[in-house]
Point group: C2
Chain length 361, copies 2
């Protein structure tokens, strides 16, 4: 099988880790022999934007749609205001490509030292899948500014929640929970202080939940209290479903608690498969270490593994599992970890080590 991948390295370390991911994916294909990847690389970056005034061509939708999946590095660079770079690229892709689910698995990879004392003893206590609503809510982009240049300036952010949007993400979350050994789902909102959209979220969630009574165990948390539970009782959770903003915050916290933001992956999925899904590490472009060749490529590899799983539609799960095994064999050894994981290896050394493991497992 040929998988056509739209590669968008983007900014900063996005470039380094996309290159690393391609190298490892090609090795995986070579060793496996039943599939291969063909990449179209899009120079949609902040540097290009500064030079020519745009991130993506007008026909970007059509261009992306000829691919089976999108591999995304990172976006954001100090000389372009973030709300411009994001609203001209990553957010339109997520929204227009119907990627209404964002899946963020978090666990403590072998060799990682998590910061919580409890987890240093029992790393298996943190094993979560955060399911993020990815198409509406606080990221709907609506709102505006009035009297902007005066002392009376007022600006709004309008979060939009629809029954359709809440129902589909809830259903996806329950199906994910159902497929896991522990079959638990925790839903997060802030429906005590936010009394319109969040209340609708709660209502639709509990309606859908009825269908899973006796099959999936579920509960509800307020987002503030959820951070406390993540710190104090990581073992009490399995799958987590939350709004676009809440899950954004909680998934960064989750990655930090799991030991490094450099390892966490993020899959932007169109479950209907009418558009290509997009795979990206959750870390950013990291201007401070960009171009130094020292970025941790593990988040990029884990994202690539999730891409393989998605592309395989169930047929490549074993390959994705082997890929993860190869990654953990590498993070498990002190001399093939990057600095953020307590080692001193650079991007290329980690990449080559993973390629060697792929040949061996």
């Amino acid at each position: 099988t040929l998988f056509k991948i739209a590669a968008i390295p983007g900014d900063g370390i996005g470039v380094d880790i996309t290159e690393a991911a391609k190298q490892v994916l090609d090795k995986l294909a070579e060793v496996n022999g039943t599939f291969r990847f063909e990449y179209t690389t899009f120079d949609w970056s902040s540097k290009a934007y500064k030079a020519r005034g745009w991130y993506m061509q007008d026909d970007w939708e059509a261009q992306l749609k000829t691919h089976d999946a999108i591999y995304f590095g990172a976006v954001g660079w100090p000389d372009v205001p973030d709300h411009i770079s994001l609203w001209q690229m990553i957010l339109p892709i997520r929204q227009v490509m119907n990627q209404y689910v964002n899946v963020r698995p978090t666990r403590i990879l072998r060799g990682t030292t998590p910061p919580l004392a409890q987890l240093q003893k029992t790393p298996q206590d943190l094993d979560w899948i955060i399911i993020r609503e990815n198409s509406e809510g606080e990221y709907a982009g609506q709102g505006g500014t009035t009297h902007g240049h005066t002392a009376n300036a007022i600006a709004t952010e309008v979060a939009i929640f629809t029954r359709v949007g809440i129902e589909r993400i809830t259903r996806f979350a329950f199906e994910t929970a159902k497929s896991r050994p522990r079959k638990k789902l925790t839903m997060v909102t802030k429906s005590n202080a936010q009394r319109h959209g969040m209340v609708l979220w709660d209502k639709v969630f509990f309606e859908v939940a009825k269908e899973y009574d006796g099959v999936v165990e579920y509960d509800k948390m307020l987002v503030d209290a959820m951070t406390v539970r993540m710190v104090d009782h990581p073992e009490s959770m399995d799958c987590i479903v939350a709004t676009n903003l809440h899950a954004d915050i909680l998934s960064d916290l989750a990655a930090a608690l799991a030991g490094s933001i450099g390892i966490a992956p993020s899959s932007n999925l169109d479950p209907t498969r009418s558009c290509p899904s997009m795979f990206e590490p959750i870390h950013g472009s990291a201007p401070d270490i960009a171009g130094k060749g020292i970025a941790n490529p593990v988040g990029a590899f884990w994202s690539a593994a999730e891409m393989v799983r998605w592309l395989g539609k169930g047929e490549l799960d074993a390959v994705a599992d082997q890929f993860m095994e190869a990654i953990e064999n590498v993070t498990g050894k002190p001399d093939t970890r990057t600095r953020d994981m307590g080692g001193s290896a650079n991007t290329m050394q980690v990449t080559e080590a993973v390629c060697r493991e792929i040949e061996n497992v």
Copy 2:
């Protein structure tokens, strides 16, 4: 001096800890001899609401305004939807009483075991004041629902940010930072994904910041990345200013990282002193332990200490400091800590221990 306190115990453990706080405050007054407290207790609770259909009387504003400060326990009970209990009491009080600042100091009290391994070695590394915008933003209450009972239901949450609102909280935050030894301020938004109100926030913040160049050191974080920094580099922060929702989330996380949500205080301030300010622990009504007499009263005591500081307008700072010293002498001893702090003392035992310390320090 006579300080007239409006006491609102509210729900669940709010009742236990308000009683404990009054006992300790009276002891403080007795030992000191220069001031005393007079309490009006308001039965504004979910239980009362169920019985009579309302939380607060129509003339609640006038009733509260005859007091020098408000002491608040907790609100929220399973048989009343949270958005009703909150929007009929705590949120109107904060907003109508002009309490546009919410101050949430967090540090690791003596005797606390914080969950992060790093902080177990150097507890002094976590010493933050979170300054929360308390009057607008995501808690403005605006928004609504359309087609609510149909498959096309859509609901919005409208966050409102005004230049006036942003400017006054920013200024308060800079003044607070300026008064602290380290003189650092970290500002948090999500202005990359939220491109209207949050962008105004950034703009106004940096305008005000110019006045503090060379006096206060400041930087900016995105709320998701901020959770990572709080876990990985607690020592890198001092004062933190954020929107109503972001600071709500970050302050719960802060309390968890400091070792217990049961110890953290929250001061809702009207810096113009035209209305009474309100003091409350950040924990909730804790239905699971309510009425058992085992709630941790330390957050309530710390809140009471902040109330004394505020009422004293600079004259009672030494008294408030002694009060905190008394509290920490108690948390410092294993047999006078509650369960959440690794001990087995009940609310009354901790309360009596603090009273004894107040007599001795």
